[in-house]
Symmetry: C2
Subunit: 333 residues, 2 copies
């Protein structure tokens, strides 16, 4: 595919610039010329060279999505949604796995990838979001994940406190009194924000807060959920319900429950957060907080493109993703 603009031009009998004009929808072109050029393009199967174009224009129509790990179902689903949303607008998404490494996250922030990308959608995990300032990056950036009042960037996320409150209240509403939380140590503020909602709910329900029931470190994987659940079950007085700060841990927790010969929701009710597809097919199916990922993707992309085009408002925007409480078997749905 060595077809260049000049080849097309030669074929169509016009100048290189005219071909470029046709491609870029320059208004003043005769129908005749346009037709000729388009025919030549079709015949030669021409595709513009992205590198050259981006070098000249300073725009590449590539954006990066930086996530901790793409194999994690939530991020995989998110990535798919964002890719789709971007494609609709003629934008290509480049996915970056930071693998939870601070170094990799820093790389993302430093106008990484040698100016190829026009902007970044960033889901931080190690980098304390508050510490990210506009000085750190030259590229437009949209943050996903927990909100942070002092931030300088556009931001899209669920109201985690409220959602966690709802999840916990749901456990209360089905009669549970000893409700645990898994994932309180979670990265990038997730743990503390969701715990806030959890505690608020306990208080609202008049339940006592037992520190022994708040468990979980920074990992948010299945095995972390399983380990936390085992820890809880080993307590002198185990919980009768657990709110896991994400679905992946909830699935691990359910597994640990089964391994212990117990079952959900009878012995322990379990609710997660994220609504990943696995949860729907799990036995028992998993109750969860279901954020609208399509909405999130659409808006994150739109926000970023606005910023890139410079048409966005001057001050940063904070979008809140709609969510619903989805009740399934794991809480007796």
């Amino acid at each position: 595919m060595a077809t260049r603009l000049s080849d097309v031009a030669a074929r169509a009998g016009v100048s290189v610039k005219t071909v470029s004009n046709v491609i870029n929808d320059y208004p003043h072109i005769t129908a005749r010329t346009r037709a000729k050029v388009e025919a030549a393009i079709a015949e030669l199967d021409y595709t513009p060279n992205v590198s050259a174009r981006s070098l000249r224009k300073g725009r590449s129509d590539f954006i990066a999505l930086a996530v901790p790990e793409m194999a994690s179902p939530y991020f995989a689903e998110l990535g798919a949604a964002i890719s789709r949303a971007a494609k609709k607008r003629g934008i290509t998404v480049l996915i970056d796995q930071t693998e939870g490494e601070a170094a990799a996250e820093k790389l993302v922030l430093d106008g990484m990838r040698g100016q190829l990308i026009d902007g970044i959608i960033f889901s931080p995990i190690t980098t304390a979001p508050a510490r990210i300032t506009s000085a750190d990056t030259a590229k437009p950036l949209v943050l996903l994940g927990e909100r942070h009042p002092g931030g300088t960037f556009d931001h899209v996320a669920v109201d985690s406190v409220q959602a966690s409150f709802d999840a916990t209240m749901h456990l209360v509403s089905i009669g549970r009194r000893r409700i645990a939380a898994i994932g309180v140590g979670g990265g990038a503020g997730t743990g503390s924000v969701r715990r806030k909602g959890y505690r608020k709910a306990l208080k609202a329900a008049g339940l006592e807060l037992d520190p022994a029931l708040e468990v979980g470190g920074s990992g948010y994987h299945r095995e972390d959920g399983a380990a936390s659940m085992r820890e809880l079950l080993a307590l002198p007085e185990p919980p009768d319900a657990v709110f896991c700060f994400n679905d992946l841990m909830a699935i691990g927790a359910l597994r640990a429950l089964t391994d212990a010969g117990l079952s959900a929701p009878e012995d322990v009710a379990v609710i997660g957060f994220d609504d990943i597809e696995d949860g729907r097919y799990h036995s028992p199916s998993l109750s969860t907080i279901s954020a609208d990922k399509e909405w999130l993707a659409e808006n994150a992309v739109a926000l970023l493109l606005d910023r890139i085009a410079g048409t966005g408002e001057a001050d940063r925007r904070d979008l809140t993703v709609p969510y619903t409480l989805t009740i399934r078997e794991s809480t007796g749905g």
Copy 2:
């Protein structure tokens, strides 16, 4: 980030050429100069402009991975592995979702992305692999998925027939006599190849082949597996074991089983294919064919880079991914 090569040169007090030499590992450079230049690069936080470099060199160090959908756990895990393998070699992976659309797949094959990428790792689904010829693409290409004798490209895959044989024989070995197969209509040859292994095993075990036990269309998702399982359970003589052609369907099948008040492995033993993480944590945990994804990723990337560098052997290579039969609860492990 408007730092250019010339800025670095000025800062280091050397010529642009020297900086370029340092970056590109030109042999004759004093340690002093190299140090100076490297210091300048670090201070200015310089990153070469990818567009300019790729325009000039004709190499971008980007490769594309084209998969049907990245939200599907198998592809997500594969994508993660390939990204990692590529990163080790200084290559960036661009993931493309074809969403099972023939048009999108065709786009991938037409030296898509305007010459930005150096090569493609392609996991086809609608495009009949035999139909892909080197005439269709100008870029080096490595195919994943079922093998096809007539192909013209390098290829990496599990020996699906053998693996399916093993999976089926495992069901036989635990005493099952009425063994069904789910996914026989699967895309890009997967269905027919795995069915071949399945049938071979039945024959080897002296079991009769019942066409009613071979079900499933082209979809390979959880809901397809669930639907197929329901279909099987509705038979006058339902199966006592099922081999699902991928784990996702197996999970759906397990769910359908549960919904019908039956359980695995007691009523119906279930085995899948792929060893996705979900399967390990499912209740019951899922027996499966576990292909070495890291191996697959490493080799697919290495093969492609060889091809790109032109150092590969002239004739196409066909690599077979090692796998193991992993027995878990769903078959009584």
